[in-house]
């Protein structure tokens, strides 16, 4: 396993305490660090702005002033054909057509809001990659949080209820058995 270059140094390098036994072995820890690093890198590049490839500009020049606005907008709209891709990523012909429409409208001076309204009027809310917060999408947006809250509530109630229940009592026979076992253990250690 290749050592990740920004992994934290081991505790033994700095502290005077003897190296303690760790729950996770060295190899496993290195692996997990590499995994976290990869995930962090992937997340970071995912969040950064998409660069316009030749495909998104379709070989047609867009005046500089619109370029960043255009890139941002097509990243927020869905390709209706490959429905899990944005207009920025999709190679479908309809996506190219819609990108053309968007470019033409931008140059004509239409605002982002007007352009999205144009598309939503024709294709519905589905064309927006982020569904709008409407009465119909409240479940989609807040449902997971509501379920989480419900789950936490149930967990808290269950734990409280269990805590309040009396500890199990042993019958006299069992109690004697436990005493005998404990005595045998003590005798075993002593000898």
């Amino acid at each position: 396993m290749r050592r990740v270059f920004f992994a934290a140094p081991s505790p033994a390098a700095f502290s005077a305490h003897p190296r303690q036994e760790h729950i996770l072995s060295d190899a496993l820890r290195q692996f997990l660090r590499a995994l976290c690093a990869s995930v962090a890198i992937l997340l970071f590049t995912g969040l950064s702005q998409t660069t316009a490839t030749a495909a998104t500009l379709d070989g047609i020049d867009l005046p500089e002033q619109y370029e960043s606005r255009y890139k941002k907008l097509i990243d927020q709209l869905r390709c209706l054909v490959c429905q899990n891709e944005t207009l920025a990523d999709s190679d479908a012909e309809l996506a190219a057509d819609l990108r053309r429409e968007i470019r033409e409208k931008m140059v004509k001076g239409e605002s982002d809001k007007e352009i999205t309204e144009f598309l939503v009027a024709r294709y519905g809310d589905f064309v927006l990659y982020n569904p709008p917060v409407k009465s119909t999408t409240l479940m989609l947006w807040y449902g997971p949080f509501a379920l989480l809250a419900l789950g936490v509530l149930i967990a808290v109630i269950t734990v409280r209820r269990r805590g309040r229940a009396a500890p199990p009592t042993l019958s006299a026979a069992h109690h004697q058995q436990v005493q005998d076992l404990l005595r045998k253990q003590d005798e075993g250690k002593g000898s």
Binding site: L80, V81, Q83, E93, L94, D97, L98, E101, V120, A121, R122, Y123, G124, F126
Partner: protein, 176 residues
């Protein structure tokens, strides 16, 4: 006993939701144009490019607008059904030839038959975008007032005709 009913009830509700979900087609995008005026268009006719056909020309009658193209394979599946339909003379059908070459389109009609009163050529797909077309074939039902009343996505089957499209057409023809 009642302790088990609550999780069981939640489980049952979830199962019902998932079961219903299996029957939904995620690729079908509902059209926001239903019960709205059909988008205006004026395009050259396929077989007579000198003449234009516009939405205005079609006001006053109930008709089907079928989006088709010679490069569309599923269109061949629905073609015989559409031919049969227009032979019964229940409703007129117009064609929107979407992003196609005129020569290819004409050849296709020759090979498979022409169910359309007239077809218009939408070469760059702009009229398609106005109508919310995202795939081919699609079929729209338009009433006498020029309002879109139904959009069918994908090839039309006989079952679709009998259960959805024809009843809709008859309803629109009867009331006005």
């Amino acid at each position: 006993m009642t302790r088990f009913l609550i999780p069981l009830g939640i489980f049952g509700a979830l199962i019902a939701l998932l079961y219903a979900g299996l029957y939904l087609n995620p690729r079908e995008v509902p059209s926001p144009l239903i019960d709205k005026p059909a988008p205006a268009f004026s395009l050259p006719q396929l077989q007579d490019p000198g003449k234009q056909l516009s939405r205005q020309d079609l006001l006053g009658k109930v008709y089907l607008l079928n989006v088709w193209a010679s490069w569309c394979v599923s269109c061949r599946d629905e073609q015989p059904i559409l031919m049969q339909l227009v032979q019964t003379k229940q409703v007129e059908m117009y064609g929107l030839n979407y992003k196609d070459q005129r020569a290819d389109a004409l050849r296709w009609l020759e090979m498979f038959g022409n169910p359309y009163v007239a077809s218009v050529s939408d070469m760059d797909g702009r009229v398609g975008i106005d109508w919310g077309v995202y795939g081919v074939p699609e079929t729209f039902v338009i009433d006498r007032g020029g309002m879109i009343r139904y959009k069918h996505i994908g090839p039309v089957t006989q079952a679709d005709l009998d259960t959805i499209l024809l009843p809709k057409v008859r309803e629109l023809q009867g009331t006005q």
